[in-house]
Symmetry: C2
Subunit: 223 residues, 2 copies
């Protein structure tokens, strides 16, 4: 069984989260470190998608992962097997991370010369969307079994992200999921979001997603 | 297109939610009305399960439904098609309902001589578990595509409910879902929870669930 570090995150005392987030982002810029905030419902495939991305970007980017969960370390153990630097963050029951909590996580991870750190946020389509973590970009995963109407019911999540991954397209034949409608509903909330249909299980579509992420990291470091 | 009433719920001002919940439960007891709090992740099949239960209990119980969502009225329109009394509650971005908000919903629904009202809570495995809504019983749905490890990662939800529905068992062959492990993880959190594996899509297992619910309502009204 993989051993992973577990960090108990303290609740943030900063009233002005937006300011804390901007501060963190500025520091990340100075260090040339890209932070991605990855959000979704429980069970949409955040960890599996991340595992695929780590494989696809191996040798190209030095990656670290912060796994935020209320309890357990199952995800951090899965990620640790890929060989990347990993830390498990326990939120003590809290449904999201804010910028000050993300900063605690980064200090615990100690990113050193990493290019990219992914924060796997608590599985929740509501609360994490309300808090700027200080990440450079945010991404939401919506999986086919959840249904194509989710952007209508959880508008803020789809509004605040830069990219939406539609995962588990391999099981599309077994669900009433309309990709065209889903795209239309996402566009209603967020005309500029990049949309990536993938199957983290089979690997379908992962290359395009990895390419997008690589470009984002490159742009952040170079401009 | 079905027309449904939409009620904008106001944030609760009561500090002591547990007391409000007890008060509401006592009033429900006096009226002989059973309130079920139905919770799950987004897309686990709350609305489809509810539609099946309404079919199964037709002619036996007079049912009403309160659909809580951050936005949209897609679920309330689906439920309205079954012919039962329905209201859509909008939470104004909030991730859960508490007892005072549930009371507002009940007043809006106006249950009259109903036997059973189901509150379909906001799709979220974290926050709704923290607030007693005043319901007589609570039920969580976990769907097969979400994975069997969810009771480890969202412990409180599985701890506070009286029953867990494992939905979408019809797609079990396409996912790495271990029903035995899932049952074991639920039992770790909650040795007394009733567990119902069902497919709301095919109807498999719905009869046993409907029977359990009917017995709960009967006991509440008679004792």
């Amino acid at each position: 069984m993989e051993k992973v570090r577990i960090l108990e995150i303290k609740q943030s005392v900063f009233a002005n989260n937006d300011r804390q987030a901007e501060l963190l982002r500025r520091e990340l810029k100075e260090r040339g470190l890209f932070l991605l905030n990855l959000m979704s419902s429980p069970g949409s495939g955040k960890t599996t998608t991340l595992t695929r991305l780590i494989e696809a970007l191996a040798g190209e980017l030095a990656i670290g992962v912060m796994e935020a969960d209320i309890d357990s370390d199952v995800d951090a153990r899965t990620i640790a097997k890929t060989g990347v630097k990993t830390i498990q963050l326990h939120t003590g029951g809290m449904c999201h991370l804010d910028a000050a909590m993300t900063r605690q996580g980064l200090e615990g991870l100690d990113p050193g010369a990493l290019d990219l750190v992914v924060l796997e946020n608590v599985g929740n389509l509501v609360c994490p969307a309300e808090f700027d973590t200080g990440a450079v970009k945010s991404m939401a995963i919506l999986s086919v079994p959840e249904g194509h109407d989710k952007p209508l019911k959880y508008p803020l999540m789809f509004q605040v992200v830069d990219a939406v991954v539609i995962n588990k397209v391999d099981v599309m034949p077994y669900f009433d999921f309309d990709l065209e409608k889903c795209t239309e509903y996402i566009r209603l909330r967020n005309p500029k979001a990049e949309i990536f249909p993938i199957s983290a299980k089979t690997g379908q579509g992962v290359e395009a997603l990895a390419q997008w992420l690589k470009n984002q990291v490159k742009t952040w470091k170079e401009t």
